[in-house]
């Protein structure tokens, strides 16, 4: 500043200019959306979660789409799963979610209730979206109260991934229709012979407990509530904790520290329940051979399994519903896209894509064979869209189950805590 107290006009102007520029900058970043220019070109934002292979594949698919529809540009946004939903929630609440985004059954009702999801039926009726040729009725996964708010891109089911070598060395066989008793007997054999735990921590996985409940005529969720009692859960967690204590289930302290590796590929246990399309990760992470094994049953027959799936959903407030529908239709039906994506998001959901992609590597082949077998066994049940708040409950189930495993919470108190948190989550 000049010392004589005379500020030059230019100084003031400069300062004013800088302020204006700063404010102007804030203003432009504030609104951000530039979709739809005057020349007929349209830009859509498309968001998904997943690892690098998925991102590469999706980007390739987008390039194909842009070639076929030169007037539509796709702007990709991607993160990992955790960050994805935090970001999405913030964007959606600000009225600025992506036009098209990856979705899953646990979030359908939640965002439908909040008015974020577009009913794609109208676009299908207008001929912009093809709802034909979906396999095994998976299209129903994206329906809530008669609306089509998600279009499945793939189908997957819960499975048991096993360390094949460990199972062989222990001399146990995983076979269709085996019971829970047989499963735990197998774990005992593994522990006796190989001195490692059998399972990585089955009882904190919400989707597995769902299968167990289904085997017993219940389900984790009804349309609006939990489908089991506190006593049911207390029993489930009491048994689980007993098995941690006896060493049948791996030490949770070790599992925790192996992350981001899974307990199975870190060699801490011989089997792990997860979604079948996740099984591909183990080969890359671990040193053994991994295979898919059937879910244990209660009655020797019913596994309680169903086909879940990842979906594509659209923002109800998008400025370009037609283009959004065209893009989704292309992504789920185009055979080339099927070839590029493979089974990364589950077995391809439409016949066009399923027929176009023939897996050649053992991992993808294994997933395909597994789902084939499950479908043939005729055990597949129907999935119901989870009530709003299901995502919060899934996280709570994992956390509280972990406290039980660590011996920090008694099963009865843990079950009580879950019910109380579920109540809050449903109300939210």
């Amino acid at each position: 500043m000049p010392k004589n107290g005379n500020v030059e006009r230019r100084t003031i102007l400069k300062a004013a200019g800088a302020s204006a520029a700063a404010l102007g900058l804030a203003a432009t970043t504030g609104c951000g959306g530039d979709s739809g220019a005057g020349d007929g070109n349209v830009t859509l934002r498309y968001a998904w979660w997943g690892g690098e292979p998925r991102t590469i594949a999706i980007k390739k698919s987008i390039a194909l789409f842009e070639k076929k529809y030169p007037k539509i540009k796709i702007k990709p946004e991607f993160t990992d799963y955790e960050a994805y939903w935090e970001k999405f929630q913030t964007q959606a609440s600000g009225g600025n979610p992506p036009d098209v985004f990856q979705n899953a059954v646990g979030f359908l009702r939640k965002y439908d209730k909040r008015g974020v999801l577009m009913d794609l039926k109208a676009q299908a009726d207008a001929g912009n979206l093809d709802l034909e040729n979906f396999r095994n009725g998976v299209l129903a996964n994206g329906q809530v109260d008669g609306k089509q708010i998600g279009i499945p891109v793939g189908a997957n089911t819960m499975a048991l991934v096993i360390d094949v070598k460990a199972f062989e060395r222990a001399g146990v066989e995983a076979k269709f229709g085996w019971t829970w008793d047989e499963y735990f007997a197998a774990l005992q054999k593994i522990q006796d012979k190989l001195k490692i735990a059998g399972d990585t921590g089955y009882f904190a996985i919400m989707y597995l407990y769902d299968l167990y409940l289904r085997q017993n005529g219940k389900a984790f969720f009804t349309d609006t509530d939990l489908g089991f009692t506190e006593d049911d859960l207390t029993q489930w967690w009491t048994d689980g904790y007993k098995r941690v204590k006896s060493g049948l289930v791996a030490d949770p302290k070790k599992i925790e520290q192996a992350k981001p590796k899974s307990g199975l590929s870190a060699g801490l246990a011989a089997s792990e329940f997860t979604w079948d399309n996740f099984s591909i990760r183990y080969e890359g992470e671990g040193e053994s051979d991994y295979g898919l094994a059937p879910i244990p049953t209660t009655d020797g027959k019913d596994t309680g399994q169903y086909l879940g799936s990842l979906m594509m959903s659209a923002f109800s407030g998008t400025k370009h519903p037609k283009e959004v529908a065209q893009f989704i239709s292309f992504m789920v039906h185009d055979p080339e896209v099927g070839k590029i994506m493979g089974y990364d998001r589950g077995i391809l959901s439409t016949t066009e894509q399923f027929d176009a992609f023939k897996p050649t590597d053992p991992n993808n082949k294994g997933v395909a064979a597994y789902e084939d077998e499950v479908a043939k066994a005729g055990v597949l049940g129907k999935i119901t869209p989870h009530p709003s708040g299901a995502d919060v409950i899934e996280a709570a189930f994992l956390r509280i189950g972990g406290e039980v495993a660590q011996g920090k919470t008694k099963p009865a108190d843990a079950a009580k805590a879950l019910f109380s948190e579920a109540k809050a989550a449903f109300a939210g």
Binding site: A15, S19, Q89, R114, K254, Q257, K259, A417, G428
Partner: protein
């Protein structure tokens, strides 16, 4: 931060000699000043003051970000005080503050005393000890910490040599918080620098006189150093405890975004974050935030009140 008060600055020269022109000039100068500040002022109003007022309002509402906030009065606060996870988060945070802050300051003071002596390469040592505070807040250090304290990692193996088989701190609910404490202590650079400045101000004559009277090193530390640097100590205690109350990044990264296992590192801000951004209970999260503000203000007030008893301000030069 002044500790031995310097002579008061000479009063600013009055410009009343040329009244009218001077006043106009000053007004112009002020105007320019405000203009230069305006981006900051706008930013403050838009990004700090605005959200704060909004969150104060949300604290009394049920707000899930999508449907308009619904006034619920004190409901958020009553649910909060009864919520076992909230109680747990308070417990974890207090434990962290009470353990990490004194240890960090102790180390900072110790190292500062070593570095206050004249030695060769002193600047290098100072830089080296300060370095961790510069990078300490980064996410990558959190990952490094996780790797260091995991099962069968450096710390675990070292412990085993001494016959302590814990099996890694990260997965163990009884130990994992101390991994965070260690991370905090490791970043003692900032308070150390402030201690150093304080130590430099202690008049050497006092030591010389004390030595002549036969006071040993401990005596000199207790009766000279400590009282003389007590304002600096006060400042550091204040700053570091406020800091510790707000710990978030390290807890979030070291324990894999869930602040566990078994909620063992569920520090206050981590629970606040989970409530707000994972469970979409913004009203509840806002209530938590304001409760923290009030709690920190109370702690600060208590510290200020207590300083009469132990902080020694040298009167301005007679």
């Amino acid at each position: 931060m002044t500790l031995v008060k310097e002579a008061p600055a000479p009063p600013a020269k009055k410009r009343s000699a040329a009244p009218a022109a001077g006043r106009r000039g000053r007004r112009r100068e002020n105007l320019a000043g405000y203009l230069f500040m305006s981006p900051w002022i706008a930013g403050f109003l838009l990004l700090t003051a605005g959200p704060m007022i909004a969150s104060l309002y949300y604290a009394f509402t049920s707000y899930n970000l999508f449907t308009p906030p619904k006034w619920v009065g004190l409901d958020n606060f009553t649910t909060m005080f009864q919520d076992p996870r909230w109680q747990k988060s308070v417990e974890v945070t207090l434990k962290y503050v009470v353990v990490a802050t004194p240890l960090k300051l102790l180390l900072a003071l110790g190292v500062a005393m070593l570095l206050a002596q004249k030695r060769r390469g002193q600047a290098l040592y100072r830089a080296a000890f300060y370095m961790p505070s510069l990078i300490g807040a980064s996410v990558s250090v959190g990952f490094v910490w996780r790797a260091l304290f995991s099962d069968d990692a450096v710390v675990d193996r070292t412990q085993k040599i001494f016959g302590l088989d814990v099996g890694g701190w990260i997965g163990n609910p009884d130990y994992v918080l101390y991994a965070l404490v260690a991370l905090s202590i490791w970043q003692f650079g900032a308070p150390m620098v402030i201690f150093l400045a304080g130590l430099k101000q202690v008049p050497q004559e006092l030591y010389e006189a004390a030595e002549m009277d036969g006071a040993g090193p401990f005596r000199r530390f207790w009766n000279i150093t400590l009282p003389m640097i007590s304002p600096v100590l006060f400042f550091n205690v204040l700053l570091e405890s406020i800091h510790a109350f707000q710990v978030f990044g390290s807890a979030y990264v070291v324990s894999d975004s869930r602040c566990g296992p078994a909620d063992a590192t569920l520090v206050y801000t981590c629970y606040l974050y989970q409530k707000g951004f994972k469970e979409s209970q913004m009203g509840f999260a806002s209530a938590m935030a304001w409760t923290l503000v009030i709690a920190v203000a109370l702690v600060t007030a208590v510290l200020f009140w207590s300083q009469k008893k132990w902080v020694h301000y040298e009167e301005a030069a007679k």
